[in-house]
Symmetry: C2
């Protein structure tokens, strides 16, 4: 799919005037980043508000839901080549009633809308997540947001709507699916030691394991192939190198 | 939550006249049933059409999405006390254009609606699944359907919309999550043998395992507690009994 950069130049007025979004539905993306043994999540800060959100947006009437997720992520963050996986639809009826920044943002821009405007309706949002090696270093201001930043998942700022819950649920999902998520990821080099793998698991799962137990569990999953030892000068203690078995 | 049986007495005309559903959104439930080493799925047959569907329906404007799923399942099948888990939102833009029975059903009843009626809009549907020991033996005709029946997952009849894809994706999800789904389920007696457990896994995963490999994998998951042997008269060969560790 070709991602188009023009739509993120949309002003708030143009967004509000858009009349071909599917009402009641949105997409939000929990993008987890791993680097130097820390697990972070990508957040956007609303203009002139001390409130953060994960990258999200609306779905055009003629757009496949998954395509909307990739487009929205690209427009808000310029991230592409990220494998997004859907994990949950958040459908509490009051989920957008608290910490909703839209009214304030519109007031700040002097934009008036009716109570019946689509942006004031109840939204069910479809959550997507990804796990990447974090590489994003720029900020991409748009109609809603002034900056992008990575936050430690254990130290989040004030979040809009139910976005804290979306991050927690995304993280829970990531933890449940970690065994097969890592296989296709680029978070480890082609060949790695059991210690590298254990560091990655411990960071993502937020707990520590005994070395022997961890090794036994990993080998029982049948996802690893063993290679030569890693030569580091002290041959006796050299650890084996592993790679994920390609299916 | 109190489930109300009155809504499934709704006629097709009353359903069509309902104006407080959230537009564009529906819920569909893939209910898998295990019994006598067979895995089945619960389907409904449309009135006077040779077309089947999984139990589904629409969400009221003031209704939590999860509550809607339980209500819809109850109204269509009278199943309650089933733990429903959300697994995917199906959002292909053309997903209701093929094998859509609504027009024919309405025509058969002499009900005329406009092209702009909410039931003619594009729908994103939120899929829920459950795994139960199948106990349902009655049929519950309603506005859309004349009967309920269990089908072998490998031998489905002609399905409406993208419901075959929803079942396949639900099954894939069930297979991925089987290790923790079984722990809370009532598909096995309180204490069971490794052979009972292996039969259940093989039926759900649709593949066979070598006895030793299966046992090693199960024990490595740390979800089983070992008890006394099952006395069956030939003490030498008596298998151990296991139960799931209660967390």
């Amino acid at each position: 799919m070709k991602l188009d950069d023009s739509k993120n130049k949309m002003t708030l007025q143009e967004l509000i005037d858009t009349n071909n979004f599917i009402n009641h539905l949105s997409v939000d993306c929990a993008i987890f980043g791993f680097h130097n043994n820390t697990l972070k999540v990508l957040l956007l800060k609303y203009h002139e508000l001390n409130l953060w959100a994960i990258p999200g947006g609306f779905i055009f009437e003629d757009e496949h839901l998954d395509d909307a997720a990739y487009r929205i992520l690209y427009e808000r963050t310029h991230l592409e080549d990220v494998y997004l996986e859907q994990f949950y639809a958040f459908g509490h009826k009051d989920r957008t009633e608290r910490k909703n920044p839209h009214r304030q943002l519109l007031e700040n821009k002097g934009i008036n809308i009716t109570k019946e405007h689509w942006i004031n309706k109840r939204f069910v949002t479809i959550g997507y997540y990804a796990l990447i090696d974090y590489t994003l270093s720029h900020t991409f201001p748009d109609a809603f947001n002034e900056t992008c930043a990575w936050f430690d998942v254990n130290d989040l700022p004030e979040m809009a709507f139910d976005h804290q819950e979306i991050i927690e649920k995304g993280l829970e999902h990531l933890r449940k699916t970690i065994d097969y998520k890592l296989v296709g990821s680029n978070l480890l080099p082609e060949k790695f030691t059991m210690k590298d793998l254990q560091n990655l698991y411990e960071t993502i799962l937020g707990e520590t394991f005994r070395r022997n137990n961890f090794q036994r569990k990993m080998l029982s999953l049948n996802i690893l192939e063993r290679h030569e030892k890693l030569f580091d000068g002290s041959a006796n203690k050299a650890p084996y190198l592993y790679s994920f078995i390609k299916k």
